[in-house]
């Protein structure tokens, strides 16, 4: 209410707050993207692109696993960095339909470092960065795949009951959607 009155008077604190946060985010991203670019050079597992150079906070990541169940797949992720970064993690969505225990069919992802409120040491904290997020997403198709803490419960159940069926379903999804 108080803020509304001030806003009528032409003093918009929310907007000012947002502008400051956006300025901080841009500075953090400028540095991080430089590091990330050199980290991702000379590897074939993933590729990061910025669809617009004026929107550094919107990124696209393409993960191409080189081994394991998902080898041969091309998985597209949309990473969007909110203004409150780095107090909050980037928002990540998987744009490719995939049969995976930690990614549901809507594209929501269960990855510890992307959790904003976490009581353990694995959640998001400001000392983390985009490089960790990209490595986390890449590893989700190899080492970090977790059947015990599933988001797509049916996928995890299928794995526990019949691994061959799971693998062929994953392959089927790759052939259809990648």
């Amino acid at each position: 209410m108080f803020n509304l009155q001030r806003r009528i008077n032409g003093n918009d604190e929310d907007r000012k707050y947002l502008e400051t946060r956006v300025a901080i985010r841009e500075k953090l991203l400028a540095q991080e993207l430089k590091d990330l670019e050199s980290n991702l050079r000379n590897q074939r597992q993933c590729k990061l692109t910025l669809p617009s150079t004026s929107q550094l906070h919107e990124m696209e990541l393409i993960v191409t696993p080189q081994e394991g169940i998902y080898k041969g797949g091309v998985f597209k992720f949309k990473i969007s960095v909110p203004p409150e970064y780095n107090n909050v993690p980037p928002n990540v969505k998987c744009m490719t339909k995939v049969w995976h225990p930690n990614i549901n069919e809507d594209g929501s992802i269960c990855l510890s470092i992307l959790r904003q409120n976490s009581l353990d040491a694995f959640g998001w904290r400001p000392t983390r960065n985009l490089t960790e997020v990209v490595h986390g997403l890449t590893s989700l198709f190899t080492d970090l795949i977790d059947f015990d803490d599933a988001l797509n419960i049916q996928a995890a159940q299928m794995w526990n009951q019949n691994r061959d069926q799971f693998k062929s379903r994953a392959r089927d999804y790759i052939n259809r959607y990648c």
């Binding site: 901080i24 909050v88 904290r125 400001p126 000392t127």
Partner: protein, 108 residues
């Protein structure tokens, strides 16, 4: 700020050693003492905004604020006070070591 140049010239010593001799082919004509200093702290960069602790934090650089000082926790990790006060509203633990955040001291 981080280096100091000290030039020492001594007329006496210059006279004595002005010319090289057979068993001392090189002569020291002039020397500069150089000193480097660093803060005796575990971390000198704020892990939250990634700016050196002796500089203002990222937010205060764009929005000048006299209150941008450094805060040390019981765990001995240090951050900008501005950065840390934002973070502990969300999670009252040190982002570096995950210990509960207890302020040990503040300073510049």
């Amino acid at each position: 700020m981080s280096t100091t140049d000290v030039t020492v010239t001594s007329e006496d010593s210059q006279k004595k050693t002005a010319n090289p001799t057979e068993n001392r082919p090189f002569v020291l004509k002039k020397w500069n003492a150089l000193a480097i200093w660093a803060w005796d702290v575990e971390c000198d960069t704020c892990a939250i905004c990634r700016v050196h602790l002796m500089e203002e934090c990222l937010r205060c650089q764009s929005e000048p604020n006299a209150d941008c000082f450094v805060v040390w926790g019981d765990c001995n990790h240090s951050f900008h006070h501005c950065c840390m006060s934002q973070w502990i509203r969300q999670n009252n633990r040190c982002p570096l070591c995950q210990q509960d955040w207890v302020v040990q001291r503040t300073g510049k």
